[in-house]
Each structure stands twice: as C-alpha cells, then as structure tokens.
Symmetry: C2
Subunit: 291 residues, 2 copies
C-alpha cells in the first residue's frame, strides 16, 4: 500500500502533463512532488522523499522515451502502474492578452514541435523553455503581455492564467503513456503464485532483456510467450550502444508475475536471454477514447 | 541507375546533417536539393525534381521517426539505401565572437535538447530555430555577435563561420540512420530471384505490416523469418491510432527480395498479416566506430 503521507514525484513544474496524469491515476488532491528532471524523480523515490514516481515512457507521436528505460535499468525500482493521457496543448497567456498582442510563444521543445503547424500558420515565433508548465509559471511571474506559453489546461488553472486556445496540437492522436515507479512491487503481485487458472488479463508486465545477435534468437525468446498464449502489447528492439552484436528488447505483455504461466514463461526466457530484468507487473490501464 | 543530372533531396538547409549524410553516401560533390520538410522531400522525389531523397529514419537517442514511416506508407516510393551518421554538434558563431560574448544559442529543438547539459553548464539560454544549419545561415546573414547556433561542422564550412566548440552533445553515443528513397527499387534487386544460395548478407530489407491483436500473432509472423534463418536487425511495434486492436510493425532483416528465401518468407508472412508492404531492399551500411 502507498504511504499516504508522502507525495508522488513527477517531472516538471506544478501543472505539468505528468501532474495531470498523476491526479487522474491516484485521484484529485494527491500531493505531488515536482522534480526538475527524470533522474530527480528516480532519486526522490529511491531516497524515500516520495511514495512513488510517475514517468513518461512513450508518446504516440514521438515514440519511446529511451532515457527512462535507461533509468529503469540503472535503478532498482519497480513499475507498479500505468496511465494513458491524451495530450491537449493549450495556448495560455496572462488575462486580457489578445492573440494579436503576441510576439512569441514559449514552451518545452517537444510541445513547440507538436504545435509547429499552428504556430507557423499564425506567424508566431517559438522560443524554447525548459518545461511546459514552467513557461506558464514564468509568464505569470513576469506579467508578460506579448508572450504566450503552451501547456496543459491544468497549468492555466494552477497559475490563474487565461486559455487563448485549446487543442492547438497539429496531430490529434497525441497521447502519452506514463508508468508509476516505486521501491516495492505492486502489492497485488506479491501474493502466492496463482496455480493453473488463466493469466490475470487486468495486469500487464514490463520486461527488458538482451539477446545475442543470432538468427532466430528473438523468435526463441518470443516462443516462451506464444507457447503459453501470453499476449504481447509492446515490443521494441534497440541496438546496444557500444555492443553492435547485442540487442536490448523492451517487451510488455498481459499478465502478472503472480501467474504461474507468466513465471514459467520468464524462467523459460532466461534460457535464451543474455540478461533479463522484470521491471514490474501492474494493473493495466485501458485508454478510453474521448467522445 | 541514378540520373546524375538530378539532385538528391534532403530535409533542411545546406549544411544540414542530412546533407552531410548525403555526401558521405553518394560522394562529395553530389548536388543536393534542400527541402523545407520531409513531406517536401517525398514530393520532390515523387514529382521527379530529385533523383532520390535522403530521410532520417531513427536516432540512437530519440528513437524511430514515426513521421517518416507514415510518409513511407502513404507514398509509393522505395527504400534503396541506408547510411549511419555520427552526430557531432558544434557551437558555431561569426568570426571573432568569443564564448563570453554569447547571450543565447539558437538551433532545432532536438539539437538544443541533445546539448541541454552543455548549455545549462555554460548558462546559455536556448531559443528554437526551425533548422540546425538554418540557424547558422541566419547568424551569418544578420552578423549577430551575441548569438551562436548549434549545427554540423559542415554548416560552419558552408556559411564560412567559426566553430567555437565541437562535440557539445551530452551523450556521445548519438548517431542517426538515414534511408534513401527513390521512384524505382534498387537496381540490384530487380534481377531474377536467386535460387538456392544463402541470402545476400550485404543487403537489408525493410517491411511494415499489421497484425490482428491476438496472442501468438507476432510469433507466427516472426516464424516466417526464423524458420528460414533470416536475421532481424530491427523490430518495433506501434499501436495503430484509432484501431486499438491492431498493431503496426516495422521490421528490418538481412537479405534482399531477390533472394528466393526472402521472397518465400514474405509470401508466408502474407498468410498471417492483415496488410504487408515491402518498403525496399538495399545495400547494408555497416557503421564503423570512430577511433
């Protein structure tokens, strides 16, 4: 169970998309601990300043965030949850500022890139800021009347600012998947291994493993899932930097390590993998399409 | 064969990393056609204004460039080559400008992000520019003495500017893979299918296919390669936006469609895939580590 006295660490300023995901996941009113970097989120969880952390792991447009996979592999933490968040970028400014007053727009580089079409169509130069919500905080502090920021609706609420336009992202199919990290595995997967019954379809497990670069190596690795009817939901290969003959794989599949079938599959995978790390089993979040 | 009267299209301004890759791939002196966007590169190749195009397909830090996979699937062009380029970011300014004179640094958001540690350590604010090489062109035109740009060594040469520091990227394991696109498949794969012999190890083939989201579907799909000892060099799954029950896969493997084994494997794959597109077979580029 989560220690409710401690906050949940997230990357960014108050009002960040990861804070919005945090509130959706843990419930409104959950205290958050803003961290300046993903490293700091891991450190806060590892050091006990936070009950858990929330990290972005992939975006439907930008792909996987390799940096956070690297951090997961470097730290001894567990993935205990996941959350999909639809990214609605808002153009936000101080109250009374009109679109015609704007000389430039500031935000995180990825948000600027995802609104590049909108900014271009409106002749608005973009300037990098370290954070989406941080850009709104900055505008609120300086009272700037010729600059807008791009951030979440929540950022406008947190800093008492005005939304000039909502949904300015060029591609509406923009969502980010977050994962929850904690010092202990999800309590629901700590119990005795479930014998015989079908795997728990309401759970997902994330693993990372390396394989020697030999024909058929991946096929053998995936056979441990296929032969047991385990359903993969993500697979990605990544050449290991400095090891041109070895590949790192990220795989997510349906089921929990508390399922006997899953624990047998992972034991089987160890026969083929040059290394294997179970990053965690956690309740599956099914993203519901918006109306 | 390539029509040598026509240039090779690339995304960015003269001096862009993709132009550097183009010159390494096709040889110094090859005429390039700078294009403002990846869409424009595809259009130039399709419309016959360019003999071929060069597009970035993945970066070792940022991952796959989904946008270019989308463009490959939308257009009827062929991948005819590949090239790995080590990304060395340079801090570039007008001649005589000293580091202490700098008030800000401009570049493409991804380059700024990849040098974030360096910029922070040197207290240099970052401002977004639409292009790496374009930022150097801009500084050269304005004669600015308080601003530097981040771009390739080649950009400094093209615009006659000074390199203040080379290799300012935070992570040295930074390389980009480019692919060549053309209206016709690589001529070397147009001949008769090679009977019996082992597959051509000096070739790679890129395919994209969709599978129904069923347990074991990917395993069956990969069996067509494993049962024929075909070596995968890349695999990535991508949830299809709007089709939560279907997945798109990108796969690269060693061999050419001129190999009988490969053509049989692809025929076999068609039995399982809900759609299959062969994007091209092309000579494999082996990235040699720098000293």
């Amino acid at each position: 169970m989560q220690n409710t006295n401690l906050p949940i660490a997230f990357q960014g300023e108050p009002g960040a998309y990861s804070e919005a995901a945090l509130l959706e996941h843990f419930g409104q009113g959950t205290p958050g601990l803003p961290c300046p970097s993903f490293d700091a989120v891991f450190d806060a969880v590892e050091g006990g300043q936070a009950a858990a952390g929330l990290i972005a792991i992939e975006n439907s447009l930008a792909g996987s965030i390799h940096q956070n996979y690297d951090l997961l592999l470097r730290h001894q933490l567990w993935i205990t949850g996941e959350r999909y968040l639809r990214v609605h970028h808002c153009l936000i400014a101080n109250h009374g500022v009109r679109p015609a007053d704007l000389k430039k727009v500031i935000s995180h580089p990825q948000a600027l890139a995802q609104c590049a079409g909108y900014l271009h169509a409106n002749g608005l130069p973009a300037e990098v800021f370290y954070d989406t919500a941080g850009s709104i905080k900055h505008l609120s502090e300086t009272g700037a009347r010729d600059t807008a920021g791009i951030a979440s609706r929540r950022a406008a609420e947190v800093y008492g600012m005005e939304i000039l336009q909502e949904g300015i992202e060029d591609n509406p199919a923009n969502f980010t998947r977050f994962q929850v990290i904690a010092r202990q595995p999800a309590s629901t997967v700590l119990g005795p291994v479930v014998q015989g019954s079908p795997v728990q379809a309401s759970y997902k497990t994330t693993i990372a493993f390396t394989l020697a670069n030999q024909p058929g190596a991946l096929f053998k690795a995936l056979s441990v899932f296929a032969l047991r009817d385990l359903d993969l939901t993500k697979i990605e290969s990544r050449p290991l930097v400095g090891s041109p003959w070895e590949y790192l794989f990220y795989v997510d599949f349906v089921g929990s390590t508390a399922d006997l079938t899953v624990s047998r599959a992972l034991g089987h995978l160890e026969e083929y993998a040059t290394s294997l790390r179970v990053l965690g089993s956690y309740p599956r979040h099914r993203y519901e399409k918006e109306a």
